[in-house]
Amino acid sequence: MPPTNDPFYAGLGQALRIGTELLAALVVGGGLGWVLDAYLFASGPWGMVIGLVLGAVAGVRNAYRASQRWPKT
């Protein structure tokens, strides 16, 4: 019954997972930067710019990690 032994579905699962992993970190990074800008420091766009860059880095790192530790494919 579990189709997870099927390489097609295992690969599909991994692909779906890594896609959102990239996106979520970017959104969180940008969002954190924006919140710092808007509510704490009033520091123009710079918080969001730095946050987006850090978010992108974190996203790639997460995706890399996710592909490393996927159990038994």
Binding site: P3, T4, E21, L23, A24, L54, R69
Partner: protein
């Protein structure tokens, strides 16, 4: 066919209930959740009531599911993860059954509401944080410092790790919600094309609808599986603290 493909996801209250400003109205999603819970309970109780050495159909299905969840926990958390078995099994069964029942035409997919998936994700992530701080105390903050980081990189690595930690519940919630919603939108659009196309050309999108339904069955299972695996991984991170990366390959 100018029907909005997102229309089936709108919820309308059947019975409006409000206690102290808290809106607990009964709508389609709530009823569907009850159906899912009732179905799982009936199925599992019926499967466990016979308890024969040579299992019948229902009992072997239940044993298959339990073995499957057990294998996920053992793979990701090891033996001490078994204390989370009830939580993980509940999450897996609930998500799996709501994904699968949602594929029945006319039924509602509970997991296509982001508030449902977000509640699960926040609960899982909050539990992993709580576990981490209970077991390791303040040392759990070391999860923000990957092992082997030179000191001068710390101002860069800590924000990156913080972001990647905060991204966990969001990616967990968005993944399940987005996959379920997107799948149903595609099915709805294809079926709309089939209906409006008539007999001459409508069979083509209709064939695609059938094919997509098969794929969606797989996706329903895969998404429940991914959510469960990640739940285990996050909980495992809380009490292994860096130990995970070495023996996970």
């Amino acid at each position: 066919m100018e029907e909005n493909p997102l229309h089936p996801f709108e919820l309308h209250n059947y019975i409006s209930v409000s206690i102290g400003g808290l809106d607990i109205s009964i709508n389609k999603a709530v009823i569907m959740m009850w159906v899912v819970v009732a179905l799982i309970t009936v199925l599992m109780v019926a499967a466990a009531s016979a308890r024969r050495l040579v299992p019948g159909k229902l009992q072997s299905l239940a044993e298959l599911l339990v073995d499957f969840i057990r294998a996920i926990i053992m793979d990701t958390m090891g033996k001490d993860g078994m204390r989370f078995f009830p939580l993980v099994a509940t999450l897996f069964l609930f998500i799996l059954f709501s994904n699968l029942l949602g594929l029945i035409p006319g039924a509602y997919t509970v997991t296509s509401q982001i508030i449902v998936t977000a509640a699960f994700a926040v609960m899982v992530y909050g539990l992993s944080l709580l576990m981490g701080f209970l077991i390791h105390g303040a040392k759990f903050l070391g999860i923000l410092v990957p092992p082997g980081t030179p000191g001068w990189l710390l101002p860069l690595m800590v924000p990156i790790e913080l972001i990647s930690q905060l991204a966990r519940p969001i990616s967990l919630a968005v993944r399940l919600f987005a996959n379920m919603t997107a799948g149903h939108v595609i099915l709805g659009v294809l079926f709309g094309l089939a209906v409006s196309g008539g007999l001459l050309i409508g069979w083509l999108p209709f064939a695609f609808t059938i094919a997509m339904n098969g794929l969606e069955l797989g996706i329903a299972f895969i998404q429940a599986y991914i959510f469960t695996v990640l739940t285990c991984v996050y909980l495992g991170d809380a009490f292994h603290l860096h130990g995970h990366e070495e023996h996970a390959h």
